[in-house]
Amino acid sequence: MTAIPLGVPRRLVEFTLDGQEARVPEGSTVLDACRAAGKDVPTLCQGDTLTPKNACRVCVVEVEGSRTLVPACSRRAEPGMEVRTDTERARHSRKVVLELLASSVDLSTTPGAAEWIRDYGAEPDRFGPGAARLDEVPRVDNDLYVRDYDKCILCYKCVDACGEQWQNSFAISVVGRGFDARIAVERDAPLTDSACVYCGNCVEVCPTGALSFKSEFDMRAAGTWDESAQTETTTVCAYCGVGCNLTLHVQDNEIVKVTSPHDNPVTHGNLCIKGRFGYQHVQNRG
């Protein structure tokens, strides 16, 4: 056998995290270090399979010597850095971000949002009921997934997943600027008229449920969606030889949605239409 390439050796970076020594491999972000140390830093636009976008600023921390607060999700750890995650200033900033988001966007299906709002004492109502909401109805234009832009926090994860970071279909984009900026499919077309190939990779990364599987959307509407009654089992797609890993979410012996493990070497969390949606045949029970 020939020698096995080991790749570039990685060094460890030493710095302090809330006064304690922290060591992480070179290239790690402050967020990686926080998570490794078991610290709960909220994140919304960070995606473990995507390049950090720094859009939401809910993850900010203080770094000694830095004038502004620093987004933990994108700042790489540097030797000697002194990071404080839980300062008054950082907490206040997160609180305001949460208030702004929660006043203008429906965060009811965003995992973690309710706890963070409570923990940070955020009061979204203080902007009054007139805070800008899109107030539009969810778009149900196909049988596979639904877009509910009332829940969109403009994190751009879906744009990145559909674009050059993964799928390269470029069906999803941002239209408008500033306050008018919003996510759209080809300048507001129905999905069925777009370049969308229904891989569902945008749904996989959406942090708020603005994009959701139709199965989940329908069950929520009917009041039957119950995550506590669901099991998650990872198996392998049977539709081609690529061998994508599928996590089947099962409730009452029915597959209710399919995701993929983000750290999987085959998929990196992505699937194609067949793997994501092609499960119905096993439960055609006559």
Partner: protein, 641 residues
């Protein structure tokens, strides 16, 4: 335009065994005991004239048990699966060159290569997640070349599209090879050290000048030259192919012609340089690895090798026939001759997937006994004497499958199967017991551990480890080490003893498609896949894909105009074997004289009525990619409203 039934037939799950007492009667519900007794009787009467159709979509464990059933219980090597209709030529070609039939690279390597050649592969549609890895390669700076008769959406990502005429892959490959040699770009050190037959190869390709190749393939000489130079000059290059190469009457030769290019340039056996046949079914690789093929025992060990036979004979306490069994193709021929009388068909649907499907059905009807084990009452199951309801391999069964990068991964039971459906292994073991062999496996892991004890390539893969590492690529002989992600690194060893057997150049000649076009059948029909559908549509037909629009005959705008047909208009498509009626679709990916159809909607348009059963003599794969057809306009229909 006439209205067609656009909703694909949906199948409902089989929930209990079905039997019938004669072929003229309908099925009736039976108990497992009755169904298995009937099956055992049917099979016992057929010792010596039996064939097993194993399943390239089921687990490794099931394939292992199925081939063991054929070899031990039925005493035959007649076991095969639908890999015969797709990638058998890749296995045959790769093992002839390197002694092992697996693709040589991992997916990750294509992200770190310099040149990617997609030859006869619309990976963007057929292998989308592999294509994501390829696109990462392109984003990292790799140049991609697409060699395909159609200008597919894969080709849209390529630096250059080489739109060759169907069935001219060998002239193209030989011209590329000749150009590499003449330009002084061949890797002489590698050729000299690790290959054999170069001089004969050089003479073989010498007539294939760029201008002759241009004439035969229809691709401009400059484009062929550019591909040759890019591939040969690249530090690392990946050559990927799928059924556009294999589904020809000379599929194995096509594969050899491509492998020659890797031998010429040394693009094999190194990280980032390799050969990647992308498999169409989830476990085509594993089915073969498990010995569910007529010439290999589990672990891809040759049946003709007495040492290997002995190992299995003592482990299984049996005698293994010292000769190759029949391939799927040969089994169908043996049905015709009457020398194959009973078939056990697991999870396959040959009544719709075989080329010239009417003939396949006629042959299966003539069997004395047919048992089908499946999750649906497929067209094939409708022909059976006994139908056994099984669990879905990927969602209701524990086990493993092996993907195109040779990665063995765990599949798991996530839902409870319907009714009385039972796992394939369980059914097979029950039958074996009825036929006098006491087979009990506690679970799939017990089967896997038996396989591990007999296959050095799988020895180090315990279930625990597979789980922990999210799959392991073979070979994996040791339980505490991992091998490189690519195969055949040995070819680069300085020490001849460790370098091992030389890789021979394949001396293959151009042989045009069997079904020639002429004035009566002037159009070349080629087949392939669409993104959202799968094979005969039995499974993929059940989900509500917004992309699905049923079956069409796709033509280029010029051909549509010449025939005076428009989108949606129904036409008769006729070949020398049969005809079907299908609506027209215009596709700019096609060129004049080239039409395209799929096999996804056989209940609507049975494309395989048109295809030809001209088989690759080495691998037995039929020439699905090249039929000669004509388009007939149907008389106008006047609707009375």
């Amino acid at each position: 335009m006439r209205e067609r039934d656009r909703i694909p037939k949906t199948y409902t799950r089989l929930t209990h065994p079905l039997v019938r007492d004669s072929r003229d009667e309908p099925f009736r519900r039976a108990s497992w005991d009755e169904a298995l007794d009937r099956t055992a009787r049917g099979l016992a009467a057929a010792r010596g004239s039996f064939g097993m159709f194993s399943c390239a979509r089921a687990t490794n464990e099931m394939n292992y048990v199925a081939q063991k059933f054929a070899r031990v219980v039925m005493g035959t090597n007649n076991v095969d699966s639908c890999n015969r209709t797709c990638h058998a030529p890749s296995v045959a070609g790769l093992s002839a060159a390197f002694g092992s039939g697996g693709g040589t690279s991992s997916y990750e390597e294509i992200e770190h290569t310099d040149v990617i050649v997609m030859w006869g592969s619309n990976a963007r549609f057929a292998h989308p997640i592999f294509f994501q890895h390829a696109l990462r390669g392109v984003r990292n700076g790799a140049r991609m070349y697409a060699v395909d008769p159609r200008r597919t959406s894969t080709a849209e990502w390529a630096e250059s599209w080489l739109g060759l005429n169907v069935g001219t892959d060998i002239p193209m490959a030989h011209a590329v090879g000749r150009e590499i040699i003449h330009a002084g770009l061949a890797n002489e050190a590698f050729i000299e050290r690790a290959t054999s037959g170069f001089e004969e190869y050089r003479q073989l390709v010498e007539p294939w000048t760029l201008s002759l190749a241009q004439k035969v393939t229809g691709v401009p000489a400059a484009a062929i030259r550019e591909l040759a130079h890019a591939y040969a000059r690249a530090e690392r290059a990946q050559l990927c192919w799928t059924l556009g190469i294999t589904e020809h009457h000379n599929g194995t030769d096509n594969v050899r012609a491509l492998i020659n290019l890797s031998l010429l340039t040394g693009h094999v056996g190194r990280y980032g340089s390799g050969l990647q046949p992308l498999r169409g079914q989830n476990n085509v690789q594993g089915g073969g690895d498990m010995g569910a093929i007529p010439n290999r025992l589990p672990g891809f060990q040759d049946i003709l090798d007495a040492g290997s036979r002995l190992k299995f004979e003592s482990a299984w306490d049996t005698v293994i026939q010292p000769h190759y069994g029949l391939t799927l193709t040969e089994m169908f021929e043996a049905m015709e001759e009457g020398s194959l009388r009973a078939v056990y068909c697991i999870g396959e649907n040959p009544a719709q997937s075989e080329a010239d499907s009417e003939q396949a059905v006629r042959r299966m009807r003539a069997l004395d006994f047919l048992v089908v084990q499946d999750i649906f009452l497929t067209k094939t199951a409708e022909l059976a004497d006994v139908v056994l309801p099984a669990t879905a391999g990927w969602a209701e069964t524990e086990g493993t499958t092996t993907n195109s990068e040779r990665r063995v991964q765990r599949v798991r039971r996530a839902v409870t199967p319907p009714g009385e459906a039972r796992e394939d292994i369980d059914i097979l073991c029950d039958l074996a017991t009825r036929l006098g062999h006491d087979w009990t496996y506690a679970d799939s892991e017990a089967v896997w551990n038996e396989l591990r004890s007999l296959s050095p390539d799988h020895h180090g893969m315990t279930y625990d480890r597979l789980e922990r590492l999210q799959g392991i690529q073979w070979p994996c002989p040791s339980a505490d080490a991992l091998e490189p992600s690519y195969l055949h690194g040995r070819l680069w060893e300085p020490d001849p003893a460790r370098r091992g057997v030389r890789a021979p150049f394949g001396l293959v000649r151009h042989d045009p498609p069997v079904d020639l076009t002429d004035e009566r059948y002037p159009i070349r029909l080629t087949t392939g896949r669409r993104l959202d559908s799968y094979n005969t549509g039995v499974q993929s037909g059940s989900f509500a894909s917004p992309l699905r629009r049923g079956e069409y005959i796709e033509l280029c705008p010029e051909d549509a105009e010449r025939h005076g047909v428009v989108v949606g208009e129904e036409v008769r498509v006729a070949s020398r074997r049969g005809s079907v009626v299908a609506p027209v679709w215009i596709d700019l990916a096609l060129r004049p004289g080239l039409a395209f159809m799929t096999m996804h909607f056989p209940d609507e348009v049975d494309t395989n009525q048109l295809t030809i059963e001209a088989n690759c003599p080495i691998a037995g794969t039929a020439e699905f990619k090249a039929s000669a057809i004509r388009i007939e306009k149907l008389p106008a229909v006047t609707y009375v409203r």
